[in-house]
Symmetry: C2
Subunit: 341 residues, 2 copies
């Protein structure tokens, strides 16, 4: 997640921002259903201060739709494979409408079998991952999701990039407060945050990436222009990134992060891969006790001096947005409005 | 995993080492069944060069059994909770016999439902985690396991230790070669490796831990004597460690890493917590294709210059041990034999 860039801010009611984005998505080739899902996802990220996945992404969505690389009108096909297994062919469209189409079946299976998995393939994921898992925790379930992306990370001990930024997101209910949620790239930084730093002319911390010659760099442009990111945490983050390729691509039937070729689609930005979600019903073993135990964990972390829980900043930004409206730069709002023309 | 310590080495056939360990476990209070499971686990770790979880652990097992902290004769109770959910009460015994008692049911459920979860509680885990997942991959399944341990890791941004070393292990089949397997502490180092470094009088790399005053240290003794480890990879590793507490303890009904009190049992070393395993049948979506895709991933990683795959060193050590016997220090073998007296 990033800090907002510079420039005068405006505040827009969430519903207005969502409606604006919905119109933009529809204007640029999405069906009403797909536009609704993406608009809610993207305004939620902006509302929660996840700026690298908020309205910052809209130009990328628009250029991708214009390039013909993604099908904004795709209808996902949901297959009920087994008592704990749902598969979705996203039909070359976005992953979020595929998840939305399968969500109810996935929840029913998790409640009945105790655990269920959703395997999405033939899908494009260009958004934050936490909006995919948080709603399950709101319903008392524990959710874990992984999605692979596009080659830009050098495996630990290798010389060339192969993996995507391959995030892992997790959500669990917590008594008396919003769910515990995290969403982490397995790269040292999220790709969107590198783009934001490049745009702002800022330098990165050391250990984030390498330049086109494979040499360490703190220049975000050097990473974006022929360079690559490193995994977080050395060989361990690298192993997790490998696991994400196996779960999100090999297991679902999607593409690995290096397998798709968008060179015939200038403007294409959305990785065409796969996504896996695992949902567990914690009441199976512990009845209603899980959320209380989750709360005890939080209290112990705070008692150890933890200043901020994972996800806490998002909830704070969300509260502020509910009171005052969603913050975005005046210039961003103008650019969005221009996309309706 | 660690490098072996110094001293003259001997080579012992695997079956002989396993038989010796089995006798030791039985001599010190384990039932034949429990002794068999632990002896196989511990000799496998020694065979594969995972020295921090090999015979190095035997004195800890013995002192724990003597202290009355763990029940070496416990009979686990397996409950068939739901089509994808198995629960085991390890009855204050070790986690490995609990897993062994539930393994067949777990596999049947994963093959039928597509995914299944095993929740073990009231269990002691004092071993490497990869032996718990690798056998599932040998049968064509994908397995993920987490286990929490005992307070010795300071959450990122906190002042005091709370989490255990909380490892994550993963295994997936791979066509034409042994499974892809990793087993990583979510701490910067495994606790056993800190103990081995302390015993060998070696210094650690920076960023591994803090001393009793919370100051960074490279002295393993300072970490063990009132100090603590740090998570790997900063806030991301810390979030994963938190997730392990939620999955392995809160979800199973086990203890968090800070909840058990062994002060009345001098010599006790085994964390009394919980363990979660998730097993997925990759044939549900992709038929027999998964292992081939897994192999393609490995080949691409190698083509990028990766010198060593996760788990590769273990397989190399295993092959050597099959040819020449399992390596251990002469002094270790003497100490083991003395434990039969």
């Amino acid at each position: 997640m990033s800090t907002p860039s510079h420039g005068p801010l405006v505040r827009v009611p969430f519903a207005d921002l969502q409606a604006l984005l919905q119109r933009i998505f529809q204007r640029h080739g999405c069906s009403e259903t797909v536009a609704g899902v993406l608009a809610h996802n993207c305004s939620s990220a902006q509302r929660d201060g996840a700026h690298s996945h908020g309205v910052f992404r809209i130009p990328g969505y628009v250029s991708t739709l214009a390039s013909g690389w993604v099908d904004g009108r795709a209808t996902p096909t949901v297959t009920d494979v087994a008592p704990g297994y749902v598969r979705v062919d996203a039909a070359g469209g976005f992953a979020q409408p595929a998840l939305a189409a399968a969500r109810q079946l996935l929840i029913e299976k998790a409640r009945k079998a105790g655990i269920a998995v959703l395997a999405i393939h033939n899908s494009h994921h260009f958004a934050a991952l936490w909006p995919d898992v948080e709603p399950f925790a709101d319903q008392g379930l524990v959710a874990l999701s992984v999605v692979n992306s596009m080659t830009c990370v050098v495996p630990h001990g290798a010389r060339k990039p192969l993996f995507g930024t391959n995030p892992i997101a997790f959500a669990a209910p917590c008594a008396g407060q919003p769910p515990i949620v995290f969403d982490m790239a397995t790269s040292a930084m999220a790709h969107g945050d590198v783009q934001i730093a490049a745009r702002a002319g800022e330098q990165l911390a050391e250990g984030m990436g390498v330049d086109a010659q494979g040499q360490p760099t703190t220049d975000p442009r050097a990473i974006l222009e022929g360079g690559a990111l490193l995994p977080f945490g050395g060989h361990k983050g690298s192993a997790l990134s490998m696991m994400v390729e196996l779960l999100a691509a090999a297991l679902t039937g999607g593409h690995f992060s290096w397998e798709f070729d968008w060179s015939g689609h200038p403007g294409a930005k959305t990785p065409w891969t796969g996504q896996l979600l695992i949902v567990i019903d914690p009441s199976m073993a512990e009845g209603s006790r899980f959320a209380q135990r989750s709360r005890e964990l939080v209290e112990h972390m705070q008692a150890c001096g933890l200043s901020r829980m994972p996800g806490e900043r998002r909830y704070r930004e969300r509260e502020a947005a509910e009171r005052e409206g969603v913050a975005l730069q005046e210039q961003e709002l103008q650019s969005l409005t221009a996309l309706l023309g």
